[in-house]
């Protein structure tokens, strides 16, 4: 059983008058409660794939099956309804939210739009969501711009899980966070995945993070899949040129007095 199946996906743009393939014949599947990471250098097609899966842009060719149905065939009300099951978290939540909104407002929107809770129920649901992502419930009245980056990303995750999705697309979702906060957010994502069986399409340029959280990895190069497989196996022994280059370029911390962490 798969949550998401992408086959032969293609997206072409024109750059300097010449056509160029941002995504070229890409296929992969993600199962329930599974994390698939997309890795690759800038311009390898990672974020374009995220946008295609979210249907923020339309592919030139290929097929996307989500929860067993043809996702590209959906439109209008049926697309909006299905979108509740497919959520997203981006790198910079400040850019993703209305900066003047309060935390409560940000979390109220999906509950209202997808008719998940009545007006009277919503404050309780918002409090429950905040608790679920490890935030104090009194944060609800604060403005988005007032809270810290880590808190904001927790709010983004709370908004994503508000509609009980089966898949969340995380596009560089922990890349802008401090390392201490990053660890906590990754732990939170793992917790949510285990309890709610959510699948993640986890996009990152950081192989260290991918190795920590992803079950499988797809390494992209110039829009094509260079290699894929078990995350630790691929990162320990990359076969493709780009995989080898990514591993070689990752900063290594050589600690002689390595203590168990």
């Amino acid at each position: 059983m798969t949550v998401l199946a992408v086959s032969n996906l293609a997206k072409r743009y024109r750059r300097g008058g010449k056509p160029f393939a941002a995504v070229d014949e890409v296929s992969f599947e993600i199962g329930p409660a599974e994390t698939l990471a997309l890795a690759g250098p800038s311009g390898s097609g990672k974020s374009t794939i995220a946008k295609l899966v979210l249907r923020l842009i339309e592919p030139d060719a290929g097929r996307i099956d989500f929860e067993g149905g043809d996702f590209l065939a959906l439109s209008g009300g049926s697309l909006r309804a299905r979108r509740a099951r497919l959520q997203m978290v981006f790198q910079d939540p400040l850019a993703a939210f209305n900066p003047r909104a309060t935390v409560a407002r940000v979390l109220d929107d999906p509950l209202r739009i997808h008719a998940i809770a009545s007006r009277a129920e919503r404050p309780l649901r918002i409090a429950a969501l905040l608790e679920r992502v490890g935030l104090e419930t009194n944060l609800a009245t604060r403005a988005i711009h007032e809270i810290s980056g880590g808190q904001r990303q927790r709010v983004a995750i709370a908004r994503a899980i508000a509609t009980r999705p089966s898949l969340i697309v995380l596009d560089e979702a922990v890349s802008a966070l401090d390392v201490s906060v990053r660890g906590q957010i990754l732990e939170l994502l793992l917790d949510l995945q285990r309890q709610e069986r959510i699948a993640y399409l986890f996009i990152s340029h950081d192989l260290g993070v991918i190795r920590a959280i992803a079950h499988r990895v797809v390494i992209l190069d110039a829009g094509k899949i260079a290699e894929s497989g078990d995350a630790r196996t691929v990162i320990a022994n990359p076969q493709s040129a780009v995989g080898k280059a990514l591993v070689a370029a990752t900063p290594k911390l050589v600690r002689t007095s390595q203590e168990a962490s």
Binding site: V179, R211, H215, V254
Partner: protein
Amino acid sequence: MTVLLSIRDLAVRYQRDGVEVAALKGVSLDVLAGERLAIIGESGSGKSTLALAIAGLLAKSALVDGTIEWPPGQLQPSRFFAPPSVLPDISPARGEISSSAGGFPPATPEIGESDRDGSISPLVGEMSGRTEGGAVEHRRSNVRGELPRLGRDIGFVFQDPSSSLDPVMPIGRQIAEVVHTHLHLTWRDAYAKAKTLLERVRLPDPEATLRCYPHQLSGGQKQRVAIAAAIAAGPKLLIADEATSALDTIVQAEVVTLIRGLVAEDGMTLLFISHDIALAASLADRIAVLRHGELIELGQTDQIINAPRQSYTRALLDAHLGLDAKPLLDRKGASA
């Protein structure tokens, strides 16, 4: 080792929404000539404020206490060091001595001495003594000894090359301008030097790149241009403030290698500001750890990595997700 610059009790406060925020608290630090020193810390640790303070780029409204002293003899002598109105006697003499001796002028210690009141600086001269809320408001009065000039003595590379390059000026002109301004070469020679610099930062086809505009280059190429401009006047100190953080892993590694090579070739001192302890360790001789505006630990890279004295440094090291770390997936047992 010789001290390039000496920071003592540096405190920087900003006004934010009417509230005073301390960005740096009593930081004391010697930067050694020729060393590669990494300043690491998380958001809000004050690492960028420290870099900006050294470069003299703090916002005018910043409240600064403490000193940044450049001991005499460390900076390149220049005929145009200070306008005659400020230094009628010493300035011309300095120029002559330095050009004939080819070294550092004996007059410099006197400059350092006479600068104790901070009035030597042309920047400071007009505003000297003006205070607000009991603190000296202008930014350069805290710099003692010789005054470094940004661009000539200090090269600065920022995180985002798109915002540090002029989008409507050709690359060649932007680099040649630094050369023309600080080395007083003719425009023709300045352009020739700009081309050499583009070769040094390993941009393909330097001749064509001279005529390019920033938007025609990739992020990594733009950062190479920014580095070329930063080193154009042969600065003593190169400050790289998260200069590779916006680049992808592969390009980041290339740019770090480039910086390492240029610093070695030109005998520059490097101040490498980063949030990434592993990246800093791969480049630096010494690492300074900042937290909440305070310098909490400073040591040789090997000591910081293998025998940190502060629990915070240890926590930063443990939070690093390396390619040999135990995956979080395994830590809690479950797996899909």
